[in-house]
């Protein structure tokens, strides 16, 4: 009798186990890597990848679920074979992303009908602001401030952009360095000779063996669009003799919109043999100082006797690398579009995120085109006046 009863109970067990396990939702992936064949799938792939890859959902005010509710039906009515519909979709993507706070964020399109379209929400927002100005080549004015014998170097980067660097002295008492983008290490380690190597050799040699007449350093990263992240350690590593904690970063840690790793210190290590800067340093940056150039401005700002003069920087502070390293950041919707977005979110050493806001100067001096055209750089003037 007991054996029969036990068999019955085990049977009951099985039934109950099946019943209870059916309470769970399924855990199927909602992110696909296949080419979407209709607009509904294009939307799903874009929405889901943004949902899991974008780094700022904890502070962004865009309601991504509302975007889903509003735009999913609109995309479902589009025909991916119809040129007009494909072009119409660009407008939808533009509206969906217009309020994202990340200032690196761009969408470029792979689909042949819309290859020339480009979405850059932060640029579109800035263009309509009062103080907007385009990048300006300050060096065309500032070369007149430099003492004779200054060095200029150019290098064609692997991204096919022209890197220009300038270094020299001003009034025999200020060491000056300018670059229009950051590919310094790339230029320095490239095969053959290039002018940038000479400029870097001159500038770093002056830093390490500071002549007694030099009373300060001016670092000019105005209208510097950023560049290689490797330059942060390479460049700032020459100014310090111990590790510099200048903020913290976190990354995505799962598919959840709010799944992040803990914040970890952002550290720049000194280069072998480097010495701490012993004279004041002033960094010049403007509203077209972007990405790595902003990070360098912020890192310099921590050094003793440092000052930042100019304008609020662009506000694109999340560093970017290949998607595979963190499984977050930039992604593609196969055969349709490509999204450029941060791999990490960055908080400055003061605990604040300046993403979308830009880093504010200690002394604000606005861009003044008429003065510059007249050969007078008001921001540089101020910096020179503060170094005695």
């Amino acid at each position: 009798m007991q054996v029969k009863r036990t068999i019955a109970v085990f049977f009951l067990f099985c039934i109950l186990s099946i019943y209870l396990s059916s309470c769970k939702k399924n855990t199927l992936s909602i992110v696909s890597n296949t080419t979407p064949v209709n607009f509904s799938l294009v939307f799903d792939d874009f929405w889901n990848k943004m949902n899991s890859n974008y780094l700022y959902w904890d502070i962004d005010t865009t309601n991504w679920d509302e975007i889903h509710v509003k735009y999913k039906p609109l995309f479902e009515h589009l025909d991916i074979q119809n040129k007009n519909d494909v072009q119409k979709s660009v407008g939808y993507f533009r509206k969906m992303t217009e309020r994202l706070i990340e200032n690196h964020f761009t969408i470029s399109f792979i689909n042949n009908y819309i290859k020339d379209s480009f979405i850059f929400p932060s640029l579109e927002r800035k263009k309509v602001s009062q103080n907007f100005h385009s990048p300006f080549s300050y060096i065309s004015v500032d070369s007149n401030y430099l003492d004779k014998g200054f060095v200029v170097g150019n290098y064609l980067t692997l991204s096919n952009t022209q890197l220009t660097t300038v270094s020299g002295t001003i009034n025999k008492k200020i060491l000056y360095f300018y670059c229009n983008e950051f590919a310094l290490q790339e230029a320095n380690s490239s095969n053959g000779t290039n002018g940038v190597k000479s400029v870097l050799q001159y500038f770093f040699n002056q830093l390490q063996n500071m002549p007694s007449n030099i009373k300060g350093v001016i670092l000019d990263v105005r209208s510097n669009g950023g560049g290689n992240l490797t330059d942060l350690s390479y460049f700032i590593g020459h100014f310090i003799d111990k590790p510099l904690v200048f903020g913290s970063t976190h990354y995505k840690s799962g598919n959840g919109r709010l799944s992040f790793t803990p914040w970890i210190n952002a550290i720049i290590n000194p280069l072998p043999g480097s010495k701490a800067l012993v004279v004041p340093i002033i960094v010049l940056a403007d509203s077209q100082t972007i990405s790595v150039a902003e990070a360098i401005t912020m890192a310099i700002h921590i050094l003793p006797n440092s000052l930042f003069i100019g304008e609020n920087t662009w506000g694109a502070l999340g560093p970017i690398t290949e998607n595979s390293l963190y499984d977050d950041g930039q992604f593609i919707v196969p055969s349709f579009l490509s999204v450029y977005t941060s791999s990490a979110a960055f908080k400055y050493v003061d605990g604040k995120s300046y993403e979308g806001l830009g880093f504010p100067p200690d002394i604000a001096i606005s861009f003044n085109l008429s003065s510059l055209l007249a050969g007078d750089d008001l921001q540089l003037d101020k910096a020179i006046s503060l170094i005695h």
């Binding site: 209870l20 992936s29 959840g256």
Partner: protein, 259 residues
């Protein structure tokens, strides 16, 4: 001690009821079990053991990434109400770890985040015994849990440490280690857990004064450990295997004739 009106059902009748009243299966089974009473005894004890937890979710979209189960501990104070020789009800309020890690694999090996999560759990279960002095038993029940604390540790490439490799063609990142308390996010984290459990064990009663139990229990959460805070959410469930050793003493002994 048990005051239910007693009904004797044959096993055929039980299966008939199970077939026709599927949606009332749970209530029927409780009723059935309560009516098979011959005597009762309450035990109190101590239990300790290890847990091995796995996070069930879908990360197939994440390149070179795998979820790995991890060992933790479990301690509890089991309370068992032994209805008769072959059935008991028990609860064992416990503090248990449900640990797992998300590891990068292939060329990213060395990058990982390990989550050591501690839960307070209250299981309610029934066990069915077979044997005399040495009994084997099977257990089925459900549990409630509360996610008390968490610890995150791991290694991650520090993006700002990037340098170029010797020939300038690649990038090298330094791994940064972290080990810190998990920061709960009320929007994201669902700290309440509910699930079912099942298991098997061996009970040894050398004397009437105490019981020795070795038990293997499987806990399956049916609640997502995230709140339902976004569309297209991929749920995450804890699946935990416990291996424990218990020592129980009778508190009260009472015999009843019921059949």
């Amino acid at each position: 001690m048990v005051s239910l009106k007693l009904i004797w059902l044959t096993d055929v009748q039980i299966i008939y009821l199970m077939y026709h009243y599927k949606n009332r299966l749970f209530y029927l089974s409780i009723f059935f079990l309560l009516t098979h009473v011959s005597y009762s005894q309450i035990f109190l004890g101590l239990q300790g053991g290890i847990s091995n937890n796995y996070l069930e979710t879908n990360i197939s979209n994440r390149a070179s990434t795998a979820i790995k189960s991890h060992i933790g501990y479990s301690v509890s104070i089991p309370i068992m109400y032994k209805v008769n020789d072959w059935i008991s009800f028990q609860t064992d309020p416990n503090i248990s770890q449900k640990n797992y890690s998300i590891n990068r694999i292939d060329s990213f090996i060395g990058i990982y985040t390990q989550y050591n999560n501690t839960y307070l759990q209250l299981p309610l279960s029934t066990s069915f015994y077979y044997g005399n002095k040495v009994q084997i038993f099977a257990t089925l029940g459900s549990y409630f849990g509360y996610w008390l604390t968490g610890q995150e540790k791991g290694k991650i490439p520090n993006i700002f440490s990037v340098t170029t490799t010797g020939n300038g063609s690649g990038e090298r990142f330094l791994l940064t280690a972290f080990d810190q308390k998990y920061q709960f996010n009320s929007q994201r984290d669902n700290r309440l857990e509910f699930g079912w459990l099942t298991g098997i064990g061996i009970q040894y009663r050398p004397k009437d004064s105490y019981n020795l139990i070795i038990e293997c229990l499987y806990y399956q959460s049916v609640t997502d450990n995230q709140n339902n805070y976004m569309a297209n959410q991929i749920p995450q469930y804890n699946k935990t295997l416990f291996l424990s050793f218990s020592l129980l003493w009778p508190l009260k002994n009472k015999t009843q004739t019921c059949k």
